[in-house]
């Protein structure tokens, strides 16, 4: 990563010209892959992420089956060319952890009890990465689940809030993430603001957390509208 020593905030605007509470532009598309049972694509700033869902399908090996519900698996993977320094292909410790938290972020919305002895697989492929990939991945994965016809209680949306130069801002971009002092990814089921994921690194005070949630709520309710719009578009009768 090239050293960046300039200011992250100039005249009340962020390095990419955004306001403190402004998300990067988001593009959501549902049903983008043909082989998958369900799929979605998200662009959030310079992040480009594809998600596929397969299932409910058979569980192998069989001893992993649950007699009363489906099991959910999630694989978050970064393409080698998705970052400046080539990433060695395959799972590393970071992606194993992220896969686990993403699974848990989505699980509460799924009626897994409807599909005993089966599994549902979520595959998240980060094609280009610029901070906030786990959040963007969750936002897209929730849509891919719906696209696969898997019954869900509601959608999950996620965004990160971070701290740069003592200011809390919504949705860190890559440079802000590298030179910022805190990062809090949050996933929520928006109508009831049920948080299904929260992580944090850096340093924040308790007071600052109030602002973190205010910003997160703003971002997530915007994302929720975009998600619904993307689903509506998928269901349009056309051609």
């Amino acid at each position: 990563m090239k050293g960046y020593d300039g200011p992250l905030i100039v005249d009340g605007k962020r390095i990419d010209g955004r306001e403190y509470d402004e998300m990067r532009s988001v593009k959501l598309e549902v049903g983008v892959l043909k082989r998958a049972d369900g799929s979605a694509y998200i662009e959030m700033g310079d992040n480009k992420i594809l998600v596929a869902v397969y299932g409910p399908r058979e569980v192998h090996p069989k001893h992993l089956q649950e007699p009363d519900r489906a099991i959910l698996t999630c694989r978050y993977n970064m393409a080698p060319f998705s970052v400046s320094e080539r990433k060695r292909p395959g799972p590393d410790r970071r992606s194993v952890e992220i896969s686990k938290v993403i699974k848990n972020a989505l699980l509460p919305t799924i009626f897994i009890e409807h599909f005993p002895r089966t599994k549902v697989d979520i595959f998240i492929e980060v094609l280009q990465s610029d901070a906030g990939t786990r959040c963007a991945g969750i936002t897209a994965a929730s849509l891919a689940l719906v696209d696969a016809g898997i019954p869900v209680r509601d959608l999950v949306a996620a965004v990160s809030v971070g701290k740069i130069e003592d200011t809390l801002v919504l949705d860190l971009c890559g440079i802000e993430d590298n030179y910022g002092s805190a990062d809090v990814p949050i996933a929520m089921i928006p109508p009831k603001k049920e948080i299904t994921l929260i992580q944090m690194d850096g340093q924040l005070t308790k007071e600052e957390f109030k602002e973190v949630f205010r910003l997160a709520n703003k971002g997530i309710s915007e994302l929720y509208e975009l998600q619904k719009e993307a689903l509506r578009k998928r269901c349009e009768v056309g051609d």
Binding site: K2, L33, K34, R35, A36, D37, S39, D46, K48, L50, V51, A52, Y54, R57, R75, N77, A79, P80, F81, S82, V83, S84, E85, R86, P89, G90, P91, D121, F123, I124, E125, L127, Q128, S129, D130
Partner: protein
């Protein structure tokens, strides 16, 4: 399950073939629709996404500085890998590269390498010590058949928009560029499947499940063949192969026109 389906499909395909038809309505020597989105990944040194019908492949090029091979101390290095990520097909599983992804990477690599598409001598920084390594990473996104041709097309398209990063004080600065990768050839790989007595170019995955054999042929701009790979256990005759070579030369001209201009 896939075995049963492929057997059923096979008899259906053969009955269609007797009327010179294919499942998706194409003629035997017709490719699916091709779309190339070049330079779609900013973080990569070069990139291209190829849509071949419903098949989608993304190739990203990364470059780094490393040691040359002892037998070619003044030449850059090409390293090709392929990931058949489980997002792309219900039959792909996570894990280290299996034989299919290794074969795919090697066949794509051969087309690029043997056509001498990249001027490797120009990638020498310090003879015997430091040369550029070109990583060609194939990421399969939607597996609808004929990954070899889609990936080869994506690889050469990506190489053509690759920019070499800046190299300064022993460090690679990926964010700054130092000229274009020297690419001097556009090899095209054409794959033909044999199903019974029938030949079809650009097989879909259903046709691949039913095929006896396939032959991939990489063709240079001057119609030279620079790489070939037969796959699966079925056999082909000499006439079959000659016929496929002729066909490949003809089709390669057509496909080369899709490569974004440089």
């Amino acid at each position: 399950m896939f075995d049963i389906i492929s057997k059923l499909n096979r008899s259906y395909m053969l009955s269609l073939a007797s009327e010179n038809r294919r499942v998706d309505g194409r003629s035997w020597n017709e490719y699916r629709k091709i779309l190339i989105d070049a330079g779609c990944i900013k973080k990569a040194e070069g990139s291209a996404r190829v849509m071949l019908g419903n098949t989608q492949v993304l190739v990203g090029i990364k470059m780094d500085v490393g040691e040359p091979y002892p037998d070619s101390p003044d030449m850059g290095v090409i390293t090709t890998s392929a990931e058949l990520v489980p997002l792309a097909s219900p039959t792909f599983e996570p894990g280290p590269p299996d034989e299919n992804s290794i074969e795919l990477a090697r066949v794509v690599d051969r087309g690029i390498r043997e056509s001498e598409a990249i001027d490797l001598e120009a990638l020498c920084i310090e003879e015997g010590e430091k040369v550029w390594i070109v990583f060609i990473d194939i990421h399969v996104l939607d597996m609808y058949g004929n990954l070899i041709d889609a990936s080869s097309l994506a690889a050469i398209s990506a190489l053509l928009n690759t920019e070499i990063p800046k190299y300064e004080d022993g460090k690679v600065i990926h964010e700054e560029k130092d000229g274009k990768l020297p690419v001097r050839e556009k090899p095209i790989t054409i794959t033909t499947a044999k199903i019974g007595d029938m030949f079809v170019v650009d097989p879909t995955y259903e046709e691949e499940l039913a095929m006896d054999a396939r032959l991939s042929v990489a063709v240079k701009e001057d119609e030279t063949i620079c790489a070939m790979q037969k796959g699966e256990s079925g056999f082909m005759s000499e006439e079959d192969i000659m016929r496929i070579i002729d066909l490949s030369i003809e089709k390669s001209k057509e496909l080369r026109r899709y490569i974004p201009g440089d």
